[in-house]
């Protein structure tokens, strides 16, 4: 039975006891160091940390609403599908990002189940990627 090893960047103990307890997952260990170093500020778990950031997020949401409104007006005028995709992408990238940061940080901190934490914390990344894909497909048309 292995002793209680704290996982470090070099050695992550195998959870299962038995003949394979000393298998070193070096690749996962390297990823630890790489990922937890630079990643402290990336996710939305912190939410809006200061009033400055809240003001910036609100301004971003306002500008994004204006952009989306213009794109929707262009879509209604020209009936051009690519403007609809463009507006959806801009909405996700601006208003979606601001809304996620402002409103989802609180239930995230209070959440218990890791699945919920994972789903919410990755929502901002998914929103960014989805917005980019929408804009990209709007350009391709």
């Amino acid at each position: 039975m292995t002793a209680e090893h704290t996982p470090t960047a070099e050695y992550t103990p195998d959870d299962r006891a038995g003949p394979r307890t000393h298998r070193r997952r070096r690749s996962v260990g390297a990823v630890f160091g790489l990922v937890f170093g630079p990643l402290q500020g990336v996710s939305i778990e912190q939410g809006a940390t200061s009033p400055v950031e809240t003001a910036l997020l609100l301004a971003l949401a306002a500008v994004g609403a204006l952009l989306t409104y213009q794109a929707m007006r262009g879509y209604r005028r020209n009936d051009d599908r690519s403007m609809l995709l463009f507006g959806a992408g801009l909405f996700l990238l601006t208003v979606g990002h601001a809304g996620l940061k402002l409103f989802l940080a609180a239930p995230l901190v209070a959440a218990d189940s890791p699945a919920f934490v994972f789903a919410v914390a990755s929502a901002s990344q998914v929103a960014d990627i989805a917005g980019l894909v929408a804009i990209f497909s709007a350009i391709l048309r």
Partner: protein, 100 residues
Amino acid sequence: MIPLQLSEFGAAVGVLFFVGSIVSIVVGGVVGYRAFRGYRRSRQRSLLLFGVGLLLLVSVSKLVNIGLSSTLSSSTLIGPATELCRLAGAVVLTYAIYDR
């Protein structure tokens, strides 16, 4: 910051964030590159502004986020700097839409 226990799940979350950030940076760069190519071909200023705005909105803000969080020790500046980049990108995009 949620206390990410160094478990398999935390590692999966961290890796997914990193991969997601890299993907959005790269895709944003591709879209900006296409916008710049269209600008060079047609000389429309709105395309140039659109490319710069989109790059600022997505790629530069994420790069600023990753860069600041790996170099700075205090994390109070990271959030506002990232959102400032996004706001600047959105403002440039409004210039791009209202230009002609």
